[in-house]
């Protein structure tokens, strides 16, 4: 897969970008099928044995994230073809670079390699964030880059501390060595892991580290914001993987290190995001805060460290990422119909209680009005349902599964009592769902029940199709909830039992006897 990307990165032709993305989706589906059987595919770059060489590891979680990434990428790439890819130079090459970084980060089995892929995707994301230019983007981009550069340096400090203590950076090897760390070096190891976690938490947008996020996401051009929805999930993914691999139950004295931080930090993030959605006047900012709600919920669930909760959290992760991504795309189409400054006027109108009609009576452009607005409205409702977590779409099932697992006393505690964290999760989840619903309903009323003389946006099929595509996946996730949940459970179980991962990676057979196509 990486090779494919590497060859493709010079292609600035849009068709090549889309073809490449389609190919990536196909490969991701194949890889998902391969991992679905429960085996892990280990690909040794340079064919060195695992602790010395760099490995790419494919298990269920990686395959799942790969598929999610590439499905989003496909929708976004198609969407951008309508007009956004012309807004600046090198959109398609940067896009493929970003995908290369994302896919690599999900596949790698080595901490330093993870850093390299991280930097790759960050560098591409800097370019993409600035895509289309303009003062707002440059301002937001400046902050975004500084924050991420600082985080990358923290990442390096964390990695080198861990290397200094354990003498290895291979994740599987690390997991094997962590239980045997001497007591006096344990503090250093945990400090390293903590510093490393700060870098990932910053990417994942955990509460005190997330102030850059809504601004940056709101400033980015819509297809870019849409693909950025997966980027917080990279941080979440790494935290999920490392916390369970390194500090799972088999980690000796370090078991469960940092999970309280994840739990309460995640809850705080969700709360912050929910309040932010209520406070945001701008629909794109609303999307940015929904990203925070989504990643906060998954972080909190990761911190609870139970198999059932993890599997529900994975389900939630997929559904909310799809929903938010579709929402970012939709925002652009909706906003296109509004005159610049309409938000401002609305706010002042509310503030002063004026009932003036500032209708500029523009002539409608030639599309079928009812169908366009109706379609946009349906898509908006779909996004709102998924993000807020209401039935009948997948967001509801995700939240329901999450709460069912969190409040299941046999799972969380042996003595039959639901721990406080379960109740806290319940309160926060329901509050965040409610806040999102209120914010979305308000935005929807402002947009769709506005005065009839507003301009109907000119929407092309190529722009509407990706949104519908993402929402249909959400719907499919609802219909096929049973098999999907079973897959997530298998994923969570193998995540919580890292011994298999460790032995598979360390005892991987040399190249030649193994298939390596597609990587």
């Amino acid at each position: 897969m990486l090779l494919l990307n590497g060859e493709r990165h010079r292609a600035i032709v849009a068709g090549l970008n889309v073809t490449g993305t389609v190919a990536l989706v196909c490969i991701a589906v194949i890889l998902l099928g391969m991992s679905g059987a429960g085996t892990r595919e280990v690909y040794r770059l340079g064919n060195w044995p695992a602790p010395f060489g760099i490995v790419l590891v494919l298990d269920r979680l990686s395959a799942l994230m790969l598929l999610l990434t590439n499905v989003l990428a496909l929708a976004t790439a198609v969407f951008s073809l309508a007009r956004w890819h012309r807004a600046g130079a090198h959109f398609h090459s940067l896009f493929q670079f970003l995908l290369m970084g994302l896919n690599g980060a999900f596949l790698t089995g080595d901490l330093f390699n993870l850093f390299v892929f991280f930097e790759l995707l960050l560098a591409a994301s800097y370019g993409l964030l600035l895509h289309g230019s303009g003062i707002a983007r440059v301002k937001a981009g400046l902050h975004y880059i500084v924050v991420n550069l600082a985080a990358s340096l923290l990442f390096l400090i964390g990695v080198s501390l861990i290397y200094g203590v354990t003498g290895t950076l291979n994740m599987a090897d690390l997991a094997a060595r962590v239980p045997a760390i001497a007591a006096e070096s344990r503090g250093l190891l945990e400090a390293g892991a903590g510093v490393l976690a700060v870098a990932f938490l910053l990417k994942a947008g955990m509460w005190p580290l997330s102030f850059w996020l809504p601004t940056a996401y709101a400033a980015a051009s819509p297809p870019v914001a849409s693909i950025f929805a997966i980027m917080t999930k990279v941080g979440v993914y790494v935290l999920l993987r490392l916390s369970l691999l390194l500090f799972g139950e088999g980690a000796g004295a370090s078991a469960g290190f940092g999970s309280d931080w994840l739990l309460w930090g995640g809850l705080a993030t969700t709360l912050f995001g929910a309040i932010g959605t209520l406070a945001s006047q701008d629909t794109a900012r609303l999307g940015g805060f929904s990203v925070l709600v989504s990643s906060g919920t998954v972080l909190a669930a990761t911190g609870m460290g139970q198999v059932g909760i993890t599997s529900a959290a994975l389900f939630y992760l997929v559904s909310s990422t799809l929903g938010i991504s579709a929402f970012f795309l939709l925002v652009e189409l909706i906003e296109r119909g509004r005159e610049p400054g309409a938000d401002m006027i609305a706010v002042t109108r509310e503030a002063y209680g004026e009932e003036d009609e500032t209708g500029e009576a523009e002539e409608d452009v030639g599309t079928a009005i009812v169908a366009t607005m109706g379609l946009l409205g349906v898509a908006f409702i779909g996004c709102a349902l998924v993000i807020a977590g209401l039935p009948p779409l997948s967001g509801f099932i995700a939240k329901f599964a999450l709460l069912a697992a969190a409040l299941n006393p046999t799972e969380t505690h042996q003595n039959g009592a639901v721990p406080g964290s379960g109740w806290a999760l319940l309160v926060v989840l329901i509050f965040s769902g409610f806040a999102t619903l209120v914010a979305m309903a308000r935005a929807g009323i402002r947009i769709f029940w506005a005065s009839p003389d507003r301009t109907v946006p000119r929407v092309r099929v190529i722009e509407m199709a990706p949104i519908m595509f993402l929402l249909i996946i959400c719907a499919a996730q609802t219909v096929l909830a049973g098999p999907v949940i079973r897959f997530m459970q298998a994923t969570a179980q193998s995540l919580h039992a890292p011994a298999g991962y460790v032995s598979d990676v360390l005892e991987a057979a040399p190249e030649g006897s193994r298939k390596a196509e597609g990587k």
């Binding site: 600035l130 003062i135 400046l142 880059i145 501390l161 290397y163």
Partner: protein, 113 residues
């Protein structure tokens, strides 16, 4: 030797952090550079500093304990390249911001006096 290295890393890191917290973009970029120097030195330092030890085995395979650990040096090399590239990218954005906003304040506008 270790003391000098530690003091050096500490000074660089402290200056870097202080500069990053300044409101002018030029100071921020210098701060980031200083911090990345500090981090690079730090990576070398965690690989156990040993003076006079060769990294790679020259002719015959001698006692492994006499050689320095090559991995941190490889890591530092990668880290230098990457942080150099991203800092250069940041410099471009900085110039763009300066050109568009006509100020070098990090927020793109001068604070109210």
């Amino acid at each position: 030797m270790e003391l000098v290295l530690a003091i050096g890393i500490g000074t660089l890191a402290a200056s870097g952090v202080w500069l990053i917290l300044r409101p002018r973009t030029f100071q921020v970029i210098i701060g980031l550079s200083l911090l990345s120097y500090a981090v690079n030195l730090f990576i070398v330092a965690v690989g156990r500093v040993r003076s006079g030890a060769p990294v790679l085995i020259a002719k015959e395979i001698g006692d492994v304990a006499k050689h320095a650990d090559p991995l941190p040096q490889a890591l530092v090399l990668t880290a230098i390249v990457i942080s150099f590239a991203t800092t250069a990218l940041f410099l471009v954005v900085l110039l763009a911001s300066r050109g568009l906003a006509r100020t070098d304040h990090v927020d793109g506008q001068e604070p109210e006096a």
